[in-house]
Amino acid sequence: MVTMATEDPFNDRLSDYLDGEDLSPTERAEIEAHLATCATCETTLAELAAVAARARSLPDRPPVSDLWAGVSQRLTPAPAVLPFNRPAHRRFSFTLPQLIAAGLALMLLSGGMVWVARLGDPRTSLPSAVAQVAPEEGAPAGPATEDAEPASALSRVAFADPNYDQAVADLEKMLAANRSRLDPETVRILEANLQTIDQAIEQSRKALRADPANVYLNNHFAASRNRKIALLRRASALAMTQDAVGGS
């Protein structure tokens, strides 16, 4: 196997000599003196110079295929998916347009779904025997998770759900205790969005009283309540990870 180590110690210095980088006058003179007496090194030096010259003259070539589609698609970034936990020393402020847009979208979605549901499409109605105002049998205690899917077409809505009500109360208490850790603007917008969600819940509740078997209304009601739970959980957890206002 051929190795890069050669018997001539000057061989390894030929590239340095060729480039002249960081070469002292003494070193340069030493190598030049050797080249004057070593035909092999002189030939190798010429070959190394040819390699360097060839490298400098390499033409640029485009890719075989057009890559623009792959680039242009990525010029529109997807909405950011942000991690839930933040370092305690980081402070945040709201982007107002984002939250206003989210609140408006939620209001429009909520109102729209209720309006559509109230049109009374028979295909969206559950048999009246299924839709009941009662808690789910075997439903676990505690708040719904933020990943919980809204109830299926056979979901049953509980207007007076002690588990849900207790979960909301606990989270609201926790948030109130740590509210000072959030920016005032954050608190203001958080409260505005909670109000929007409460409006959606109330709209659904009113509509369901008139049409308790309606699938869309049932799902919308459940989804709105889940959304409130999820928002309260996130807000509480975020507040608990922040330093108190005025702290480091």
């Binding site: 196997m1 980088e21 190394l48 060839r54 400098r56 640029d60 680039v71 010029l75 970034p77 982007t95």
Partner: protein, 213 residues
């Protein structure tokens, strides 16, 4: 775009606008650029328009600089993932256009950014020590210049066949014109290692040139 409490609480919030720019970076400085001939135009108007969000202006910059960037990426990566890396470079350019201050030529700035993108990918793959010591054996077994369907030039094919570490340094030094101390900073190696790997690469490629005669 600042990470916000709102976005954490409400992930369904409105997406940031398509033409967003990251905050200005620290100065990236200038870097030596191999003479690029007439292909690289001083497209200050296109740069300004692209920085303002004009996608068609950016496409012009892309097509103007594509051969240069793709060649750099291809040679440094040994041909692996060259297309994907090239796309990564131009997406990064789009994101960083707001930080281009015109202190250097746009081509110089773009070139340096491309090098950074490739090096970042290297760091994700293998350790620096591994890249400097593997692959020489395969070069010893090559009896003829390797011909790729994409790269018919013998010399470039031979370049692509170099061991990773030696190839990177050869491309940066002899093809792109970086100095050893600059290469050391980029690749987080000593100037001595850079010199040794360059000599190693040249000695290998010398055999290819000799075989062409």
């Amino acid at each position: 775009m600042t990470v916000t409490q709102a976005a954490v609480l409400l992930p369904e919030a409105e997406a940031p606008p398509a033409c967003r720019r990251e905050p200005p970076l620290r100065s990236e400085g200038s870097s030596p650029v191999k003479s690029a001939g007439s292909q690289v135009d001083d497209a200050s108007n296109y740069v300004a328009n692209a920085a303002a969000g004009d996608v068609s202006a950016f496409e012009h910059l892309y097509r103007t600089h594509l051969p240069r960037v793709h060649s750099l990426v291809r040679r440094m990566s040994g041909g692996r993932d060259a297309d994907e890396l090239t796309q990564d470079v131009f997406v990064r350019v789009w994101q960083k256009l707001g930080s281009f201050r015109g202190d250097s030529a746009f081509a110089t700035w773009l070139h340096r950014l491309a090098v950074n993108v490739v090096i970042e990918r290297f760091r994700q793959e293998t350790t620096r020590r591994q890249r400097m010591h593997d692959g020489e054996e395969i070069f010893e077994t090559l009896s003829a210049p390797v011909r790729s369907r994409d790269f018919p030039m013998d010399f470039e094919a031979a370049l692509l066949s170099l061991p990773d570490g030696a190839r990177e340094i050869f491309v940066l030094h002899d093809v792109e014109g970086y100095k050893h101390h600059e290469i050391g900073t980029l690749l987080e190696i000593s100037a001595g290692t850079s010199k040794a790997q360059l000599h190693r690469a040249r000695m290998m490629l010398r055999r290819y040139l000799n075989s062409e005669r």
